[in-house]
Amino acid sequence: MKPRRKITGIASVTLLLSLAASSFILHRVDQLRPQATLDEVLFLSSPTVIQRASLGYDGLMACIYWTRAVQYFGYRHHYHAASYNLLAPLLEITTRLDPHLIIAYEFGASFLSPKPPQGAGEPQRAVELMQYGIQQNPDNWHLYYDLGFVYYMDLRDYKKAAEIFQQGSQLPHAHPFLKILAAQMAQHAGEYDTARMLWSATYENTQDKQIKENAIEHLRALRVDEDVQHLQEAVTRFGERTGHLPENIAELAAAEHLPGVPVDPDGQPYKLTPDGRVEVRVPDDFPFATMGLPPGYTPKPTLRDYH
């Protein structure tokens, strides 16, 4: 039995060492690769070719591509990447393989049109994706909502948005808020309440965690924007009344008869700069805020960009 036991021992040790070594090298290769070769997540970028190549297993392939799209976005978003070049093709392939995968359109509406690092900055492709979705699923009001959303938020085309919401509201099972949104577009375009309503609707109507989180971030940012706008007006009033700027935010709050020092959605008090600007304490916590940020502030990308 002895020679056999020896070989068993040697083979076991070799197995474990090789496993450790190959895992280690795999890690190194991964670090090496983006520099060595182009990102080839999409070896094939034509949806038609992929559809042919999937040999009729479109559903499964759609799931694979959908997972890839989510991972691709999640991974790059995590590192505040400055571009998402593959997001649009991935979503296009996914929806071509499975045109009824509504979540993919929703995802596209939320992340395809906003500017980087929050999205791919491709509102036109988002619109095309939604239009394709509507063409494939004409009875699904969600897609009208998503399309209107893109027109409103990123293209700022309120007239078009109103039109789309109106169309959607006429579908058999459409949610009543589509009608309200359509009406809102005419008079209150660009107001915080309208945006809040849209984001709340997004939050409530999606199952996707990432989309939900994104909606919450936007709602938080909306509150910051609104607060800062009001406080900034108060600062101006204070200056007009007294001829000088308030010392700090507490003085401003007292002058305005506020119940306490105003705080941001995280409970951090707003601060007042010596030149009279109202700012949030931690700008990085509000990636979507457009106001209350230090001059020239941009969120720092941590992932190197290869495109």
Binding site: M1, K2, P3, R4
Partner: protein, 322 residues
């Protein structure tokens, strides 16, 4: 180096094999009970038993193709798993099958390489072996074109190719025509002449009887008896069968220790050869009509059948000489 010239070729020390059978609920199935056996240097040893008795299991254990549940063995004085042992033994499996894309020459060349036959000896050795097993004109013919008997000959050839000290043959005669059997017998005799040890399994007893110095009888994974062919058959040897008409058994014949069976109008008695004359005298005295006197067939087969029947009736409770 043992000073003893008669070191045993094979010593099997309680080799035992239990398989786990069944897919869901595993049940143990004992293929071989603890086996003890010793094969002396230079003898032809027959391993006899009906199909499924455990002959092939034993050979596969010895060749290291399967692993024993317990026990060990020594071959040519070394631990049986020692790779050095394998260079000195030859093995013919039951119904051998070879790489059928090779010719006999290529196959033997490959096996000679594996057995470490030096390069310059190989060609000569291959020709010699092919001649020995009676394969002529097979140059360039792939083994897929070979008949069963020819494959058997190739199998024997590969087993003796590297001039081993000890050969194991599993059913060497199977698939051979009468001429072939004859030739294999002669070959085995020749191997013995060359001083080699031959261990072969068979269920054909006449082969064993003609060739073997000693045999072991195995049944249901258990060795029933080991011994020289003469010793095993002595209990049924030297007897005669006497048949006479009528149903009467004279007391004088009974006294001789005859074993008598009465049928419709005949009596059949089996007794020692030496009492033959006394019985005939007794029958003449009683005026009984003698029908025949024949010597009982003194074959291993008789012994074998008797032994197996006995084993069946006692449900394998025999200790098996161990």
């Amino acid at each position: 180096m043992s000073p003893e010239p008669i070191m045993p070729s094979i010593e099997i020390l309680g080799l035992e094999k239990t398989y786990q059978v069944g897919f869901w609920r595993k049940r143990p199935k004992q293929a071989l009970r603890p086996l003890h056996l010793q094969v002396e240097d230079g003898e032809i040893f027959g391993f006899l038993g009906p199909n499924g008795a455990g002959k092939t299991t034993t050979l596969k254990l010895l060749m290291g193709l399967i692993f024993p549940t317990s026990g060990s063995a020594r071959i040519l004085g070394r631990e049986w798993t020692d790779p050095a042992v394998k260079a000195q033994i030859g093995f013919l499996p039951e119904q051998p099958y070879f790489y059928d894309y090779l010719t006999a020459h290529e196959l033997l060349e490959y096996y000679a390489q594996l057995s470490g036959v030096p390069g310059k000896l190989r060609r000569q050795r291959i020709e010699q072996v092919l001649h020995q097993v009676g394969l002529r004109d097979v140059q360039g013919v792939q083994l897929r074109k070979f008949s069963k008997g020819m494959l058997q000959r190739v199998g024997i050839g590969q087993a003796i190719l590297h001039d081993p000290k000890l050969v194991f043959f599993d059913e060497p005669m199977s698939g051979l025509d009468p001429m072939g059997r004859r030739e294999v017998r002669d070959l085995m005799e020749q191997l013995k002449q060359e001083g080699k040890t031959v261990f072969f399994s068979t269920h054909i007893l006449s082969d064993a009887e003609a060739l073997c110095d000693r045999v072991a009888i195995i049944h249901k994974g258990e060795v029933l008896r080991v011994g020289a062919v003469d010793d095993l058959t002595s209990s049924v040897r030297g007897k005669v069968e006497v048949i006479w008409q009528g149903s009467q058994i004279p007391a004088s014949i009974k006294a001789l220790g005859a074993e008598c069976h009465v049928t419709a109008d005949m009596v059949r008695a089996i007794l020692d050869e030496k009492h033959q004359d006394a019985v005939i005298d007794a029958l003449r005295r009683e005026r009984l009509r003698l029908v025949s006197v024949t010597p009982v067939r003194t074959s291993l087969e008789t012994y074998f059948v008797e032994k197996l029947r006995h084993a069946e009736t006692t449900a394998g409770s025999i200790a098996g000489g161990a």
